[in-house]
């Protein structure tokens, strides 16, 4: 059995992350990959799929169920154990850090599975990075909107140009040792209190 013949199951309620893992596995030459993102009837589906390796997100609340399921040998054709090698604490730590866990069928050599775990760890980490960046971008966009509104208020009420309005916000922020967006937010809030509708 070549490494690519391994039957890999990815369980993740986060569909996007699951498909990122799936893609990575396929790129790595694993062509028997199944993804489950709906936890309904999970035990039955595992029995049907009969995987060699299961990759699951660490936070999945169904892991206790999964682990119990693996213990009952009559439920699965082959017993499944958690992917652990006591000598390999570094990869366990890397997996827990990344938020991923893996289980392998009993008797499968660790070195045949290690590339899968490695790939899963790096894809989980990449996904966390992406989520963080997305979060930051969202925050950034939100900030820009608030600053835009504040500029509009200054332009209308004091007849300033856009550049002058922005310069005033920046100068006030520097003087008060605060962020521009905080000053902008205060201004927008104050304006909406004084004249509901003015900040629109």
């Amino acid at each position: 059995m070549s490494p690519t013949r391994l039957n890999v199951l990815v369980i993740d309620e986060n569909r996007i992350r699951a498909s990122i893992i799936e893609e990575g596995l396929r790129e790595g030459g694993y062509d028997q990959v199944t993804v489950i993102d709906d936890m309904h009837g999970l035990a039955r589906r595992i029995a049907e799929i009969n995987p060699d390796v299961i990759v699951i997100d660490l936070e999945n609340p169904n892991r206790d169920m999964l682990e119990s399921f693996f213990q009952i040998s009559r439920a699965v054709r082959r017993p499944i154990a958690m992917f652990v090698d006591k000598s390999d604490e570094a990869s366990i730590e890397a997996a827990v850090d990344a938020g991923v866990s893996a289980y392998i069928v009993d008797g499968l050599k660790q070195e045949r599975v290690r590339p899968i775990l490695k790939m899963a760890i790096s894809r989980f980490n990449a996904f966390s990075r992406l989520s963080r960046e997305l979060e930051e971008t969202r925050g950034e966009l939100e900030n820009r909107k608030i600053i835009g509104r504040a500029k509009g208020l200054l332009m209308r009420s004091r007849g300033l140009s856009e550049e002058a309005a922005y310069a005033l916000l920046r100068k006030t922020a520097m003087n008060q040792n605060r962020k521009i967006v905080e000053i902008a937010q205060s201004l927008v809030t104050a304006a909406s209190l004084l004249d509901p509708g003015a900040s629109e």
Binding site: L58, P61, V96, D97
Partner: protein, 403 residues
């Protein structure tokens, strides 16, 4: 000059995380120079993994789980110790309305008596044809699994042949019951009360009725961390002891339920958390008082008895999770560390049991025990009158496998 301790504790959102939550929220951690961070987890598997890689130093954990880890039954296998328990009791067996009425037809009553209601269930199962009844528990290495199986077996039901037992996350149990995926479950609170109040379920019996004053969640500690931070561990045990005292006082129950209902902790409705604290349980259509339903402090409720560890071990053997050997038995007994509990509390005037193990089920009434300080134990009876002598583990195992 005092040292400040930074401790990170993992917990699962259940009522018996109360001691850790109260230690933080009511200032007992702070008073003992501890900055206590609480990290919420959604499964026992992730609690175990984070303990193993030191993401958390200590955790609210199922009493049998550190033993299973040390026996290599549940990986990753970092050595874990239990220097303290986090209370006694707190679980119940909940069944669907349909199963309850079938049981009631065979004499089950809302007084939750384990013997009578167990016999009723046995009759229902004996008459049943077709698909066996399915019961949910929270984990294979849990007090829930073992007390449910003990109750069933002593009621003449073979838990492996006559019914099916499966593991589910506790918050899913009420829904699984309502959808007919399971017929009953053994879980901690607030999930029994939730099932009864919001999913039309009925209580069948309680952990306290199956085995009074029995062990449940414990403080699991990464052994490496404990060895490197003995002072921090002692300070934490002292803080949790004070927290347990506070949690045990009836006048604090409403406030405790309120604190626990915060989304950062257990969440949900405080009204669902209060019954376990007061013992006034919604049984299904009526309310019953259950004495010692959950005991956070009295009866040496936080003492890590070696006899508790050994009883859990005998059940692992009984249900085929491990083979009995002198070496395995020693690993189980050594996992629980009453010595560390004593070290932390002896200079603080806390009443301590003088023994580290006791014959479980021997006390039929509350009994003062030889100890430093004022302390009463029990009653601690098994519903079938069973006794567990920690000095006669071989005999106990031999007798239970014959049954």
């Amino acid at each position: 000059m005092t040292t400040r301790h930074e401790i990170t504790a993992g917990f699962v959102p259940l009522l018996d995380s109360a001691l850790l939550v109260a230690a933080r929220e009511k200032g007992f951690a702070e008073k003992n120079d501890i900055t206590l961070s609480l990290v919420r987890e959604r499964s026992w598997a992730s609690i175990r993994d984070r303990l193993a890689v030191s993401h958390v130093d200590v955790a609210h954990i199922l009493g049998p789980m550190p033993i299973a880890c040390n026996l290599g039954l549940s990986a990753p296998a970092q050595k874990m110790i239990v220097p303290m328990a986090l209370g006694l009791g707190g679980n119940a067996v909940t069944v669907s309305a349909a199963l309850w009425w079938a049981m009631a037809g065979h004499g089950a009553t809302p007084d939750l008596d384990a013997r009578r209601n167990g016999e009723a269930l046995q009759h229902v199962i004996a008459e049943r044809r077709g698909v066996p009844l399915r019961f949910g528990v929270v984990h294979p290495f849990s007090g829930h699994n073992y007390e449910l199986r003990y109750w069933l077996a002593a009621s003449g039901i073979d838990p492996d042949r006559d019914i099916e037992i499966l593991v589910l996350p506790p918050p899913d149990m009420g829904d699984a019951l309502a959808q007919g995926l399971i017929d009953g479950y053994c879980a901690g609170e607030p999930w029994n009360t939730f099932g009864v109040v919001h999913r039309g379920a009925h209580l069948a019996t309680t952990k306290a009725a199956i085995w009074r004053s029995s062990p449940e969640k414990v403080l699991g500690v990464n052994a490496g961390w404990a060895a490197a931070h003995p002072e921090a561990l002692s300070a934490l045990i002292a803080a949790l002891d004070e927290a347990s005292r506070w949690c045990g006082r009836p006048e604090n129950h409403a406030e405790l339920a309120d604190i626990l209902s915060s989304p950062a902790y257990v969440g949900g409705d405080a009204a669902l958390l209060l019954p376990a604290l007061t013992g006034m349980l919604s049984v299904g259509g009526e309310t019953r008082f259950v004495r010692d339903f959950f005991v956070p402090h009295a009866k040496a409720a936080t003492f890590p008895w070696k006899s508790h560890a050994l009883w859990f071990y005998t059940q692992m053997v009984r249900w085929g999770q491990t083979k009995h050997s002198a070496a395995h038995q020693e690993i189980a007994a050594e996992t629980y560390r009453p010595d560390l509990y004593r070290t932390a509390l002896k200079s603080r005037g806390v009443a301590l049991p003088s023994a580290s193990a006791k014959v479980e089920g021997a006390l039929t009434v509350e009994t003062p025990v030889g100890s430093s300080g004022n302390l009463s134990l029990g009653p601690d009876g098994f519903f079938d009158g069973g006794l567990f002598d920690p000095d006669a583990v071989d005999d106990y195992i031999a007798a239970q496998t014959k049954r």
